[in-house]
């Protein structure tokens, strides 16, 4: 009897699995984008392919023309499957130590990103602490910090690399410094905001207990700043990746994602550029993922609502 009541109460429509419902919109958008991309690839490579047929005086059909746009060696806009194929070959097709491997180039850029991120985040936190505790620094430092971000990094990067190269610093460190130069800024802004975020009465409480400035910092200000710090770090780590890539461009570095981009544009290898771009975005997603994981773990330790 209960059974029949239940089946009668069930709505008539088909029930989709929740995971399915969640991913449908994303998948639809991706499919639409890929379709648009293919159409664009046909249109952009059409003249190129037609030119090649006419140069050889070979007769061609529209079908052959369109098929040609899908497998051009030097297309203006490579088709998605070409990019995926090249990416997979460059990642898996070579030993990771080979300069033809994207893993090798990815690691070169990633190591500069890590060092730059650590330098930049540390520098940003130290600056923020100074700004919050020393009144005069807030007025004197902050405008310069903001100005530092208005200078186009593409102009600064060659200067830094040439100057550091002249005093014997090459390779990873100059790249890390440029990366740090870009990524410390969000950390300063976020941590300053976080350190000043405690409610005034929490500060008053500390005063009624006559806490020392160090106790106020470690027991109130710093824990209050942690959520702000992580928000900044997520922005900052992608910026430091961009910084590391940009730093590989001006000197025509031999290795790294930036070097791949540069080489691709020299030799008109659009597919290689796109594959390097895919590698860069995979790295960025991975880096944000790692920071988010650490953020969630720390939030759990600090009793956040799950």
């Amino acid at each position: 009897m209960t059974r029949s009541t239940f089946s009668a109460a069930r709505p008539a429509g088909i029930r989709w699995h929740p995971t399915f419902v969640r991913f449908v919109p994303v998948v639809v958008i991706v499919l639409v984008l890929i379709a648009v991309w293919y159409v664009a690839a046909v249109l952009m490579n059409l003249n190129l392919v037609r030119g090649a047929f006419e140069r050889d005086d070979t007769p061609y059909t529209t079908g052959q023309l369109i098929a040609g746009t899908m497998r051009a060696e030097r297309p203006l806009l490579p088709a998605p499957h070409q990019i995926v194929q090249t990416f997979a070959e460059d990642v898996f097709g070579w030993p990771v130590t080979s300069p033809r491997s994207l893993v090798y180039h990815g690691w070169v850029t990633l190591s500069a990103t890590f060092v730059g991120f650590l330098l930049g985040a540390t520098f940003g936190i130290v600056l923020a602490v100074l700004i919050v505790h020393v009144r005069t620094l807030q007025k004197s430092l902050l405008p310069w910090i903001i100005c530092s971000q208005m200078v186009p990094i593409l102009a600064v990067a060659p200067i830094v690399i040439v100057v550091l190269g002249a005093i014997g610093l090459r390779g990873l460190l100059p790249k890390a410094i440029i990366s740090a130069y870009l990524c410390f800024f969000p950390v300063v802004i976020g941590v300053v905001k976080g350190l000043t975020s405690p409610d005034p009465i929490q500060g008053d409480l500390m005063r009624t207990w006559s806490a020392t400035p160090a106790q106020i910092f470690w027991k109130l200000r710093w824990p209050s700043a942690v959520p702000f710090l992580f928000a900044s770090l997520k922005v900052s780590i992608t910026i430091s990746l961009i910084g590391a890539i940009v730093a590989e461009l001006p000197t025509g570095a031999q290795a790294g994602i930036g070097a791949r981009l540069l080489a691709g544009s020299y030799y008109g290898q659009m597919i290689q550029i796109w594959a390097a771009l895919v590698a860069a975005s995979v790295l960025a997603v991975g880096l944000i993922g790692v920071v988010s994981l650490i953020e969630r773990w720390v939030a759990q330790l600090m009793g956040a609502r799950s």
């Binding site: 009465i201 409480l205 005063r207 009624t208 006559s210 027991k219 109130l220 824990p223 009793g303």
Partner: protein
């Protein structure tokens, strides 16, 4: 300890005999719109063991006066002594526990670690911290909630935790700034009874800011009626109910008489600006 019905001796200065002794306190704030006279010529002595309420409309300076006692504000004129020392010395020597309207618990600390916070700051050893946290959480009926985070507790429970935190370092003086103002009336009645019991048990001096007449009359041995612009004292009323009073006394004629006197005092204070 003084009997609760002993009158406040206005203007008498004998440091040490009083938990709080304020003489001719004035405080003027400099604001963008000019000067605001928050307190004007306050004379007030609070005997040890008394439960004193400051009552008045908002803007009458009752919270400011409490903050002056706590050395969170400095008066522009006058002298104030807490247990015979200056308010600054009293703060540095941790003579008082301050309870705000909001519980102001640290969200990243569990209840027990919140209560432990002042003990950590004051350098109590680990065993003593643990003992006191247990003792005072039990006193405010929060045993069993040690490992909870503040957001897992109701507003009334959070405020009780903040009271345990203020008691944990055993100050002789409790300063309470509308501690139950944000709670509903049922919870407030309950906490009022608990607070009275606690005061009776520990013999602390309590200074309590409120804008509720029944709360002030029910809790206090002395009611200080204040009036705004400038903040000043217009009446000091003694209540001589027994120390172990219950909520039922609120129905007695004597209670209603005192409440009436407080109300007329507040009204006369108000008529100055209209």
């Amino acid at each position: 300890m003084r009997a609760p019905d002993q009158p406040i001796r206005e203007g008498v200065t004998s440091p040490g005999a009083f938990a709080v002794s304020a003489h001719d306190i004035s405080l003027t704030f400099q604001t963008a719109d000019g000067e605001v006279e928050a307190l004007s010529n306050i004379d007030l002595d609070i005997a040890e063991g008394d439960f004193v309420s400051f009552i008045g409309p908002s803007g009458c300076g009752k919270t400011t006066l409490l903050r002056v006692i706590a050395d969170l504000e400095r008066p522009t004129a006058g002298t104030i002594l807490i247990n015979g020392v200056t308010s600054e010395q009293a703060r540095v020597q941790r003579h008082y526990g301050y309870i705000f309207q909001a519980p102001a618990l640290y969200p990243w600390r569990t209840i027990e670690r919140n209560v432990m916070l002042p003990l950590e700051i004051m350098g109590f050893d680990a065993a003593e911290r643990r003992r006191r946290v247990e003792q005072y959480l039990k006193l405010v009926n929060l045993s069993g909630f040690e490992r909870k985070y503040p957001w897992q507790l109701s507003g009334g429970m959070q405020q009780r935790a903040s009271i345990a935190r203020a008691l944990s370092f055993e100050p002789a003086l409790l300063l309470m700034d509308e501690p139950f103002g944000a709670l509903d009336e049922i919870v407030r009645d309950h906490l009022n009874e608990q607070l009275l019991r606690l005061w009776n048990q520990t013999g602390k001096t309590v200074v309590f800011v409120t804008h509720s007449i029944p709360e002030a009359v029910f809790l206090s041995t002395k009611i200080v009626v204040m009036s705004p612009r400038p903040g000043r004292i217009i009446d000091v009323i003694s209540c001589n109910f027994p120390r172990d009073r219950t909520l039922e006394i609120r129905e007695t004629p004597e209670f209603l008489k005192i409440a009436q006197r407080v109300r007329s005092g507040l009204r006369s204070g108000h008529s100055y600006d209209e």
